[in-house]
Symmetry: none
Subunit: 208 residues, 4 copies
DNA sequence: GATGAATGAGACTTCATTCAT
DNA sequence: AATGAATGAAGTCTCATTCAT
């Protein structure tokens, strides 16, 4: 029984097939970015004719959004999985750092797409930001858990969640910018330490 | 007196005129991003004919690079100025946070362009990253200064500089993504605190 | 009992069913014209899948021709019926005016299609014109009947038939062009009078 | 001094140049109709690159409208000229019949375009109809003139104007449909006679 | 008989770039 | 130095048609 590439999106066919195809499309887009990637190229990567893309998606942009959405969902899944069996909030934070770093490393094409999208049109920005809030929420929840059980200081959970996100992403991005391999352990150690313990030497701190 | 590419637009134009024009071009590009902004639009914003652009720049891309470069240089200038009369490294960090936040707020169009560019083609990424290293270096220097005089813990200065950058940028970006005003004081306070003092409660920390 | 192309759509469908379907297809085409109407839309209006169209017709064009043909046949039927029990040629002319006007009003979509087709490619034009000659012939016959029994002046029956056709159609079209309702009585009266009696005042006419 | 093909539409260049180009474009469209004529073909006929069309017109449709408009204006000019030195309304009618017939014969491509457009979308219909009202108005005025000076019977000038238009156009179209030459004299004589004197024999008429 | 997913040729449109003035 | 009309390559999208089920 022949399966249509996107059959699962609409009828029959497993969801996994569909996600698989979106992942391939993501790679196609990731190579050169939205604008420099032609629909023909995506179709080629998918092994279907151009018309097939347009049979399933209203426009290049709609396809792109599906791709982004899938990517964001993928990150969320992995973040959730990474902390599923972990006890303390501090440990969870460490796992999340590791997880995001790995994701950025492995799916760097996708990550570039995310971020670029975050810097697009006002409408794109908002849509995209709202989607990313899912993964942000996971960090946010861990922070609140730590605040409740007293393992974390009195910090603004929202802003702090974003700060952590930023630390990880930008640290990782730096290596990718120079096409270097991310020195996982070093980065994890450094981000962990700074985030959890700060940078001030003990004698310079007026710990609250 | 150095002559700018556009010096003739204003008779006797100086380098400052040139920077002024690049700043306007930046705003034009920032509205819709590199690809969706036409040379016609940039020319229109500049009040010159399209041919004039090509008289001064070899291509749209070259113009864009000049714009980006000018933007990055602008940020560097402001960062340098912000810490020029400050004593301690910790104080300098605070000033830098404030400075970057203000820059992101005021020049958000430019910042979006920076970041997008950081996520572009491999070659662009590298060029761009190298340029951004200027402002990173400023943070880096402050950290080393603090390491030397003992006010900072033994942290990896390079990675930590990037982490701080990431905290600030991403925190700020969040608000811009939702077209909200950045709550300056809150963000500054939060980032400062986390970065300098960490998030772990005293009793949970095995301070080194 | 003859089987229609779509007979299977309604089990035991007859020729009448077929005509019914062509009439629906006509409405679909009429809305936006041949080119702007997609086969999908026609299929949708018919409540069948696109493939079904191609099962019954070789191409979009063949379907369209069938539609036009059905429309022209419909007009002929009605014209013939309208004069079937009428005695004098002059009375018949009045009935025909009324009949065409009603047809244009009720089946304006179809009429637009006819006319557009009359203005198409050379080959289409000829095919179409030949088809329309059926209804023209009806008028022509009435005129000849009148010429024979002396109730009509010595006019060129062919050209005059076309003239009458033109008077009616264009008069009616004017209202449709502005999406106004056709003022039946007025138009009938005016066309009748002009056609039968002319426009010149008695004293200005050198009646032959 | 080089002249741009459409220069007159915008600046410099004579209006005649511009009209000339629209006339050529009209011929291009006329051959196969709006939809089957590609912009490339029009550009080719005009001897310019495709982009040049889009430099001067926003879309294929806008170009088409300009073409139609020019054609309608052309007809009006000729109608007005044809009756400029004619005395009586009845003579004017004769001239107008001749003029329209000649126009249809010479510019048949344009005429097909007019009519097709009259049968298009509701919006097109209205726009087009409004434009054609110019030439209709000329006939209308002649009729009113005749009504006032008593040379015409008491007919409805509006509807009658349209009727005459229809007689001429459809009579002429018939020949074009079969790609035959229009027998000018015969048609003129027939239309004139029917329109001015009617078809009923004297003894069958109850002249008012 | 009927379906509808897939196809791919072809059309419109955009826009960076050139060059004569 | 500056202009802006002209260009044409390239990209998005449509849709008539096919064919395996």
């Amino acid at each position: 029984m022949k399966r249509s590439p996107f059959s699962s999106v609409f009828r029959g066919g497993t969801v996994d097939d569909s996600r698989h195809f979106l992942r391939i499309a993501a790679q196609a887009f990731a190579k050169k970015g939205y604008h420099r990637t032609t629909v023909d190229e995506v179709a080629g990567a998918l092994g279907v004719a151009k018309g097939t893309i347009y049979y399933h998606f209203k426009s290049k942009e709609e396809l792109y959004l599906a791709v982004i959405h899938e990517g964001i969902y993928l990150l969320e899944e992995q973040m959730r999985a990474s902390i599923s069996n972990v006890e303390t909030p501090a440990e969870k934070i460490k796992k999340i750092i590791d997880c995001i770093l790995s994701f950025v490393e492995k799916e760097n094409g996708l990550v570039f797409l995310f971020i670029k999208e975050l810097c697009g049109t006002e409408i794109q920005r908002t849509v995209q930001a709202r989607m990313l809030c899912g993964s942000l929420k996971i960090i946010h929840n861990v922070l609140e858990e730590g605040l409740e059980n007293g393992s974390f200081k009195n910090v603004n959970a929202e802003i702090t969640a974003r700060s952590l996100y930023g630390m990880i992403i930008i640290s990782a991005l730096h290596y990718l910018s120079f096409s270097e391999k991310i020195p996982h352990d070093q980065v994890i150690k450094s981000v962990e330490k700074v985030f959890l313990e700060g940078t001030l030497a003990a004698e310079h701190r007026g710990d609250s």
